[in-house]
């Protein structure tokens, strides 16, 4: 009895699609390639060899940039949101590993997408699913050095290198490791970006969304961090959330290839 209703509904839906697709048929599923391209201000980020200006007289040479990208959602021109399956929606982007900077999303419904949302880090909901929720991501994260050894949690963002300043004339190590603080502080944050032009996902077209992460924003974002004040920030109830905000502010969509 109910089944006939479903069949009728499907039939109607098909008919509607069939009517509207006289202009262009948007059905099926396709893929999206998401590129995370790390820059420093207007230049490409180069590790270790290059000095970059930070705040005041400080100069940094960066040796490590890693972050967890998660919970990807795409919104189309009609405001319909496609949520990428949560269990497959955790990725580690590492500056040293070029392949890690391309995230391939599969089985994305065909459509014209105009917005993207993603989180940096691991949300509490996933964490509290225990071993079930982590699946093999735990192994991947540990392999990538994205877990702490004294706390059973993920590092959401890792930023390391050396710096000098007028006050600190010999190269001195700095490291920012940001994650959530047990049950005390949740530093997982999401960012939503408008796409410069719509990403047109089709069965046979894979758009590439080119996201640029301006790493200079880590030290000079909403909050300015002077490494002379604190060169090592790991768990700090005030500064860690500020780092999280700076990190979320470093992303822009540069362009979309269709």
């Amino acid at each position: 009895m109910k089944i006939t209703k479903y069949i009728a509904a499907c039939f109607i839906a098909l008919t509607i699609t069939a009517c509207s697709s006289e202009e262009e048929e948007i059905t099926g599923e396709g893929n999206v390639s998401l590129e995370f391209d790390n820059s420093y201000s207007t230049s490409d980020l180069l590790l270790t060899t290059t000095s970059y200006d930070a705040n005041e007289t400080e100069e940094v040479k960066i040796s490590k940039v890693k972050y967890i990208v998660s919970n990807i959602r795409l919104e189309d021109e009609d405001g319909v949101v496609f949520t990428y399956p949560k269990e497959d929606s955790y990725f580690i982007v590492t500056e040293e590993d070029g392949a890690s900077q391309f995230i391939n999303l599969t089985n994305v419904p065909a459509g014209n997408y105009t917005k993207i949302t993603f989180g940096i880090g691991v949300d509490k909901e996933k964490y509290l699913e225990g071993a079930t929720g982590q699946g093999d991501f735990l192994t991947l994260a540990q392999d990538a050095g994205m877990m702490w050894s004294w706390q059973a949690g993920y590092k959401f963002f890792v930023f390391e290198g050396v710096y000098t300043s007028d006050e600190t004339t010999t190269e001195t190590a700095f490291a920012f490791h940001m994650g959530s603080h047990g049950t005390a502080l949740d530093n997982y944050k999401e960012v939503t970006l408008d796409l410069t032009n719509s990403a047109r996902v089709r069965v046979d077209t894979t758009p590439e969304i080119h996201v640029v992460a301006d790493i200079s924003k880590v030290l000079a974002g909403t909050t300015s961090f002077l490494l002379d004040d604190a060169a090592q920030i790991h768990v700090d109830a005030v500064k860690s959330p500020q780092i999280s905000t700076n990190v979320n502010g470093m992303f822009t969509v540069d362009h979309v290839h269709n």
Partner: protein, 349 residues
């Protein structure tokens, strides 16, 4: 509802027809027995149902030295059953290459009733707690990927993983779930105290023990509350600052909040007679030392001492007379659960 049954029956018939020759191992489900005086379980068993085979694998892993980089230090190395799964004779515990940390091993008991673990709450899910000792360089000094690789290469684990999870694949999810299954079964709720509370076997407290319980309820039970004997909070109890371990910050290490400096988890008091030494750094060897500390030893330590431990005149401590201490000790010893401490299900050999 009936339709569903028919539907499943149909599927079963289909499978039974097509899979005549295939043998599928089905693990044996196990019901967890929870003492009637205990609170609700916090661990979500629906995500990790207990099976005899899962628990057996968990036990094997718990006593597996090869989880450590030196292939010697197992979980059970520091968590000895006879000492309520603590490290007998050590103030702080030592890991691979004789390295030492700065914390006293905590008992493993009734963990399924908790959502936060370790002295500072560095783990907020039981499944993920073992990641700390396995990867900490002063404990087992390993990495999860390397442990998985090792386990995959030992033939005995092929059978154990297959029995528990259907095939021999070794994953972090399976390893951690098996460890949790074993730990979830480690329930200590059969002490004299429990028997009195549950009116079992005509068990009764002695006069001294009853007196101790009264004092306990008046002077200790605000923090050491309920049947688990902890309110699960983090508190600064005015323990003198330990200059040996300047890296110790208490709960602040996890939360990052200044106000949490030198706050530690209120520990459960079950099996307290056997889980010596005491406090986060194992500084006190006997329960008498602990009671003496609460009457005479508290001091400012760089953090904010818990207001509950400040007397009306502004001084720190709890007033307990010598006779009261004797009674308290008698009561605390009724929390010793010999069934648990000798339970072969949890024993290494």
């Amino acid at each position: 509802m009936k339709n569903y049954n028919l539907f499943f029956l149909g599927i079963f018939i289909l499978f039974s027809c097509s899979n005549d020759e295939e043998y599928i191992y089905v693990p044996t489900n196990l019901d967890l027995e929870i003492p009637s005086n205990f609170p609700e379980l916090e661990y979500d068993l629906s995500k990790n149902p207990l099976t005899e085979e899962g628990i057996a694998l968990g036990k094997k892993l718990f006593y597996e030295g090869r989880l450590a980089s030196d292939n010697i230090i197992s979980c059970g190395f520091c968590h000895e059953q006879a000492s309520a799964f603590t490290h007998h004779g050590h103030t702080i515990s030592h890991g691979v290459d004789g390295k030492t940390g700065f914390r006293n091993t905590q008992p493993i008991q009734n963990l399924a009733f908790f959502t936060e673990f370790t002295w500072d709450g560095a783990a907020i899910h039981l499944d993920l707690q073992p990641v700390i000792p396995i990867t900490s360089e002063v404990e087992m000094n390993e990495t999860i990927p390397s442990v998985l690789e090792k386990l995959s290469s030992y033939s005995e684990y092929e059978t154990l993983f297959t029995n528990a999870f259907g095939d021999a694949e070794v994953t972090s999810e399976r390893m951690l779930k098996a460890l949790s299954q074993f730990m979830v079964t480690m329930i200590s709720g059969d002490s004299k105290y429990d028997k009195v509370v549950r009116n079992e076997d005509d068990t009764a407290f002695t006069t001294l023990e009853s007196e101790g319980l009264k004092i306990f309820n008046n002077k200790c039970a605000t923090c050491h509350s309920g049947e688990l004997f902890t309110d699960k909070t983090y508190r600064n109890n005015g323990i003198p600052y330990n200059t040996k371990f300047t890296e110790e910050e208490g709960r602040k290490r996890v939360s990052g909040f200044e106000a949490d400096f030198y706050k530690f988890r209120v520990p459960s008091l079950r099996n307290i007679e056997m889980s010596f030494p005491y406090m986060h750094d194992g500084r006190f060897g006997t329960l008498e030392d602990v009671l003496d500390f609460y009457t005479d030893g508290m001091t400012e330590n760089g953090g904010v001492v818990d207001p509950l431990l400040i007397k009306n005149d502004g001084s720190l401590g709890i007033d307990i007379t010598t006779d009261e201490k004797t009674a308290l000790l008698a009561f605390l010893k009724t929390l010793t659960d010999n069934t648990f401490l000798n339970d072969e299900r949890f024993a290494e050999f």
